[in-house]
Structure formats: structure tokens, C-alpha cells
Symmetry: C2
Subunit: 260 residues, 2 copies
């Protein structure tokens, strides 16, 4: 234990590789004494990026324990970095740390400087690779029902599609609930034609990166749904989202800024 006030900084790595890091995130990693995070995300941080840091890897879905561990460590005077991929403020560790500070504040945590440094989110990375599908009003929805009832998810999909938002779906389809994605597609189909462009971005910014654009109708079948998993971000176009081939032969998908 030290009299020094510790720091806890929740950071976003961006899509994966170091090309997508912001300068302020690079600086915080370089100064860190400890990195805390899901093991897969810690592995994205090269040894040279955080040379002085002890690494504390944990399994996924242990966000509450991980947050308390990080706060306890910072309370000893450490310079702790909690590592998320994408943006830590979007379905990730920033809210998990806030929950612990709010619900069960430990007096030992008084004095710890807590801050959040954003990163480029998975939806933004996938959108940029495809063109500009998020160029008009959009929603971001997690399809995971671990932390909210499925009925709420269906209501939100229906409301967002009915109001003609572009919709980015996180955590779209897991092995534990493979059929719910099909239900989500059915809800979207009430409001969108079968030829609506849908961007499937997987492992963007990582070696296995893939980007595909498929018509929404193709996701109605089990074979189409097999293309989607937990590492995929799905961006469903609005009624105005268009796909075209540019003069250089590249295919782009975008949502016009103007709405008729």
C-alpha cells in the first residue's frame, strides 16, 4: 500500500491492431503499471506497447469482478488500465466500472482517479470498410439477452425499424441462442424489403478480417444466419441505404444524408 493516489483508466483499443489506436490510448498504455481485461483483448496489446505493465487476464463475462479488482489495484497507488476493444463506452467496461463505483463503493477507492478514453467502435470500423452506412440517423442495439429481456430487444428492433433508422447489431448470434437472430430478422422484415443491404463485418482490423454485404432476405434462412456469429457486427440499412459499384470497381454501401 502506498500514499500515492492511483489511477484507473478504461480505454478502447479500437478495432484490434495498433493502426486504430488513438495517441492518448497509446500514451496511457505506455505508462501503465497494470493491464486488466479479457484475455483476448489483452493479447491485442503488444509487449512493446505496455512494457512496464503486469497483465491480469480474465475470462469474458466477469465484468463486475474485473472492475472491483481493477479499482482495488488502483487504490494501492497503481496506474491501472482496463482494456476493452472498440469503444469501452459501448456495451463494454466503462459502464461496468461505473456500476461498481455507484452500487458498491469501497472507501478504499476514494481518491482513485477514474477516467474513460474512447476508441473507434466495431460498428464504425465495419461501416468505414463498407462505405458510409451510418451516414444518416442510426441505432445501436445489443441482441444479447444476458442482461435484458428478449421482449425488450424485439420492441426496440420494431421501433427502430419502424422509424427507418439504420440499425447496428452487436452480439448478434451466439451458440447458446442461435435461433434468436432469425427472430430479429423477422421483426426487421416487417419494415424492410428483402433487398435491404446488410453489412456483415467480422474481425475488422484483425488478420481474419472479412466484410460482406448481403440482402436482408438472405438472412431469413438458416444458411444465411450461419454467416453471423458473436464476432460479427451486423449493420442493417434503412429504406434509403444503397449499394453501388464505384468507377474503380469497388462496391460501396452508404446511407444518403438526404431523406426524401
Amino acid at each position: 500500500l502506498s500514499d500515492r493516489v492511483g489511477r484507473l483508466t478504461v480505454i478502447g483499443l479500437g478495432p484490434g491492431g495498433d493502426a486504430g489506436r488513438t495517441a492518448e490510448v497509446v500514451a496511457v498504455l505506455a505508462a501503465a503499471t497494470d493491464l486488466v481485461g479479457y484475455s483476448t483483448y489483452l493479447d491485442f496489446v503488444g509487449v512493446g506497447e505496455a512494457p512496464a505493465a503486469t497483465r491480469h487476464a480474465s475470462d469474458n463475462r466477469e465484468e463486475a469482478d474485473r472492475s472491483r479488482f481493477a479499482l482495488d489495484l488502483a487504490a494501492t497507488g497503481a496506474d491501472v488500465v482496463v482494456v476493452s476493444s472498440g469503444d469501452p463506452g459501448v456495451f463494454a467496461m466503462a459502464a461496468a466500472v461505473m456500476e461498481q463505483l455507484d452500487e458498491a463503493p469501497d472507501s478504499a477507492w476514494a481518491g482513485v482517479e477514474v477516467s474513460v478514453l474512447p476508441g473507434v467502435s466495431a460498428a464504425q470500423s465495419a461501416a468505414a470498410r463498407a462505405g458510409a452506412p451510418l451516414g444518416h440517423d442510426f441505432c445501436v442495439i445489443s441482441l444479447s439477452d444476458n442482461l435484458k429481456p428478449w421482449s425488450i430487444i424485439e420492441q426496440r428492433l420494431d421501433a427502430a425499424a419502424g422509424a427507418d433508422f439504420v440499425i447496428a447489431l452487436y452480439n448478434p448470434r451466439s451458440r447458446a441462442r442461435p435461433e434468436q437472430f432469425g427472430v430479429a430478422v423477422d421483426v426487421l422484415r416487417r419494415h424492410r424489403s428483402a433487398d435491404t443491404p446488410v453489412v456483415l463485418g467480422r474481425d475488422i482490423g484483425r488478420p481474419a478480417e472479412s466484410v460482406a454485404v448481403v440482402p436482408l432476405g438472405d438472412l431469413a434462412s438458416p444458411e444465411g444466419q450461419e454467416r453471423v456469429d458473436m464476432r460479427t457486427v451486423v449493420i442493417v440499412g434503412s429504406s434509403t441505404t444503397r449499394r453501388f459499384t464505384a468507377p474503380d470497381g469497388t462496391s460501396f454501401t452508404y446511407t444518403p444524408r438526404r431523406y426524401p
Copy 2:
């Protein structure tokens, strides 16, 4: 004119200063022969960041002309960077360039390599400063009726608030339409209590940065609305968004990951 194939890269600077740039954006700026953009955003790029570049500044609201100019320049073999602040894919230049490529492709543009490099958006920057208000499902809506009917904006606000999304508002209030923001607040108040936390982030990452959190009810009055202008991002909480004071005395606003 040159036989060399040119490049057009649409980039996002992030919130403003160089701390928020990604490494890939820094590299593209360093190699650019030409920068094209709204003069205010070009001024965020230091001389040393793009030492070889000729700067082509234009007024705001000239996105179509600017896009064609940038494509024409790239067609001569130049390495052109179109500069947006925040994320170019969110209400910005990426969709504007796509529109030109799609609607009026010039044969001279064949061969130009067009790509988009994302940045941290204004909503994400403001959210990170406040805590984690975007930690659960959210929508992003522009309140500008330059490119869409106001009736559509009201419908979307009503749908998003009714389905209990957190809502980030861009272009919330201009001198040309100061009263519409009040109408938007009235729509939100149909679904949200007066004490709903609202984050007002202005000039985030820039010298004049300010972040305030106010209850939604405060924005019902003309005096409250005066706090909001075109340089403000407004993040309206959902029914679960909370504000609290951490053990270190800092106030944070976040949306829990769990929905009851």
C-alpha cells in the same frame, strides 16, 4: 495530369486535438499531397502533421462540391485526404463522397482508390468525459432539417424515446431554427421524467471544452435551451441512466448494462 492512380481517403480527426487521432489517420495525413475540408477542421491539422500537403479549405455546407473537387484532384494522381472532425461516417463527408460516386460518377474518377478511415465521434468523446451514458442500446439523430423533413425527426425522437433508447442528438440547435430544440425536448418529455440526466458536451477535446449534466426538465425553458448550440452534442439518458458521485468526488453519468 499523371498516369499514376490517385487516392482519396476520407478521415476522421476524432474530437479535435492530436491526442484523439488514430495511428492510421496520422500516417495518411503525413503522406498527403492535398487536404480538402471545411476550414475549421483543416485548422485542427497542425503544419507538422501534413507537411507536404496543399490545403484546400472551403465553407461549411458545400459537401457535394467539395467531394467532386477532391475526386477530380485524386484523378490527377494526387494523394488527397478529405478531413472531417469526429467520425467521417457519422453525418459527415464519407456519405457525401459516396453520393457523388453513386449519383454522378465521372469517368475520370475510374481508378481512384477511395477509402474511409474512422475516428472517435463527438458523441463518444462527450460520453467518455461524462462516464458511460452510451453503455446500453442507443440512437444517434441529427436535429438538422436541412436534409430531411422535421416531421421525420419528430417521429424518430418519439419512436426512440418510446422504446427507451439513450439518444445522442447532433446539430441540436442553430440560430436559424432556435425553437425546434424546444419541440424536440417536448417530444422526449412524453416518455422521460424531468430528472432524466442529459449530457451537454461542447468543443470536446478542444481548448474551450465543457461538459455539463443537467436534468431534462431544465431544457424545457428558453434559458436552459440557450446552453445548447451547434457545437454541442446532447446525450439524453434512458429511464435507467444514472448520475452519481464517485468516492473521489467526481460526478459520473452512465447507463447500466442490465435492463430490468
